[in-house]
């Protein structure tokens, strides 16, 4: 199997083989946390941290892990890092920890992490696996942030909790300000946004591919 270069890994994880829009992984949390930009950002960073370090550790011990228990070992590594993230959030950013509530623990169940560990880290060198972990996490994060931007903006009229739409509407002459699109803060809004984004980005990719031909 041809070993990918770091550049290829980065482009694949962020764009060509993006975990959310191409592999359709990590959808539960994509729908759940993306109605607020800040929560999404922290969730994304938490997932990136866990994926990167889990991939690094698994890659370091890949040659000594008995194949029949490799999945249990992967789960053990992932859950350990998730608990570490949970403790760090509780100790240093307690507000965010409270805001994210049970979702930090649910990073364990995110398919992206186990997917990258099984598909990449278990057969590649530590540095490459670490980079793959970071950029798989960032590939997930940037898609979620785009969704969160629109959901929070339309649903609450805010970005990072700061009112944006009310002043904008008043500046445009609508004295009542922004009428919140409640559906955007609920799960259906997440579905619509995710589906729209997958459609737009994959359409764009297809066009790029056709142009190259």
């Amino acid at each position: 199997m041809k070993v990918k270069s770091i550049g290829e890994i980065i482009i694949d994880d962020l764009w060509r083989d993006n975990p959310v829009i191409v592999q359709i992984l990590g959808i539960c949390s994509t729908l759940a946390v993306t109605n607020m930009f800040l929560n999404t950002l922290i969730m994304g960073l938490g997932l990136t941290f866990v994926t990167a370090f889990s991939a690094l550790v698994l890659s370091l011990i890949r040659n000594i892990v008995p194949s029949r228990i490799r999945m249990i070992v992967q789960t053990l590594i992932i859950s350990s890092f998730v608990v570490i993230v949970d403790i760090i959030l509780k100790a240093y950013v307690p507000n965010i920890s409270r805001a994210l509530g049970p979702y930090v623990g649910l990073i364990i169940t995110n398919c992206i992490i186990m997917g990258r560990l099984e598909a990449f880290a278990s057969s590649n060198k530590p540095l490459l696996s670490f980079v793959d972990g970071i950029f798989s996490g960032l590939g997930y994060t940037w898609i979620l942030l785009v969704i969160a931007f629109f959901r929070e903006l339309l649903g609450f009229g805010t970005i990072l909790g700061i009112r944006v739409m009310d002043p904008l509407m008043q500046w445009l002459g609508y004295s009542d300000g922004w009428v919140q699109w409640s559906i955007m803060i609920m799960a259906p809004g997440g579905f619509f946004m995710l589906a729209s984004l997958i459609w737009i980005l994959n359409n764009h990719k297809l066009k790029q591919l056709n142009n190259r031909r």
């Binding site: 759940a32 946390v33 109605n35 607020m36 800040l38 929560n39 011990i61 000594i64 892990v65 008995p66 029949r68 228990i69 249990i72 070992v73 053990l76 590594i77 350990s80 608990v83 570490i84 403790i87 760090i88 509780k90 100790a91 240093y92 307690p94 507000n95 409270r98 805001a99 994210l100 509530g101 049970p102 979702y103 609450f156 009229g157 805010t158 990072l160 909790g161 700061i162 009112r163 009310d166 919140q180 409640s182 803060i185 609920m186």
Partner: protein, 232 residues
């Protein structure tokens, strides 16, 4: 056989390794987490009693800003808390007394109820006459981030400022879909539900309606005892 033994040995070794790392991380952070929680509880109690750092007040906080944290200077927080808040125990229940000019100005207590996903714990404060809520703050909840968890935001919690409970035995607190004016403007026994989180909002409503009755009765019957115990 050798392979099976190696597998067992490997699993035990890696488990011990990660448990050790987690134990060390926990040990290094547990004090800080505990302190954070204590500070958070103190902030919540002061918030419920409508006490803010110098220069800040209820109407100065932008209700639409999502952040739920009131930034206190640590020294000021301890000073205000120690000066204004005292604790007494009645019938195995902790009652917090808000003291203003040497007199009791309000009472507070912990309440809990069921949310959509789990237990909600809150601190509730009432005025000295037991006729209005002074405020409410949430200490623990596991509601959906961005939906039910919005009960911790200031825009929601300010509906509990000056909420009318003067006729609580006959007229319980009610939840409404839309509230044009705050209870600080037009006193009423209602608060506005969180859009998209009706079950969580109802959880808050039930928690208040179930817990308040006993506490109000307990405080009403023991006002003299509380004052005596605290030499007020």
């Amino acid at each position: 056989m050798k392979k099976a033994l190696y597998t067992i040995f490997f699993m035990v070794a890696i488990t011990i390794f990660f448990i050790t790392i987690l134990a060390i991380t926990n040990e290094l952070s547990s004090k800080k987490i505990e302190d954070n929680y204590k500070i958070q509880v103190m902030k919540s109690i002061l918030y419920a009693f409508n006490l803010y750092p110098v220069g800040l007040s209820d109407d100065k906080i932008d209700a639409d800003i999502v952040s739920q944290d009131i930034s206190w200077d640590k020294d000021e927080l301890f000073k205000v808390y120690n000066e204004k808040i005292r604790e007494v125990e009645l019938a195995n229940k902790k009652i917090f007394v808000y003291i203003e000019n040497g007199k009791a100005a309000g009472y507070g207590f912990y309440i809990s109820g069921k949310g959509l996903w789990g237990e909600i714990q809150a601190f509730c404060a009432v005025n000295f006459q037991l006729s209005h809520l002074l405020g409410l703050d949430f200490l623990k909840q596991s509601e959906t981030p961005g939906l039910g968890a919005r009960i911790t935001e200031h825009w929601f919690k300010r509906y509990f400022r000056n909420l009318d409970i003067s006729n609580f035995s006959e007229k319980k607190i009610e939840m409404v879909r839309k509230k044009e004016k705050l209870n600080t403007e037009v006193s009423a026994n209602t608060f506005e539900a969180v859009t998209g989180a009706t079950l969580t909002s109802r959880g808050v409503l039930n928690m208040l309606n179930n817990e308040l009755k006993d506490y109000l009765k307990l405080i009403k019957e023991n006002k003299g005892k509380i004052s005596k115990e605290l030499s007020l």
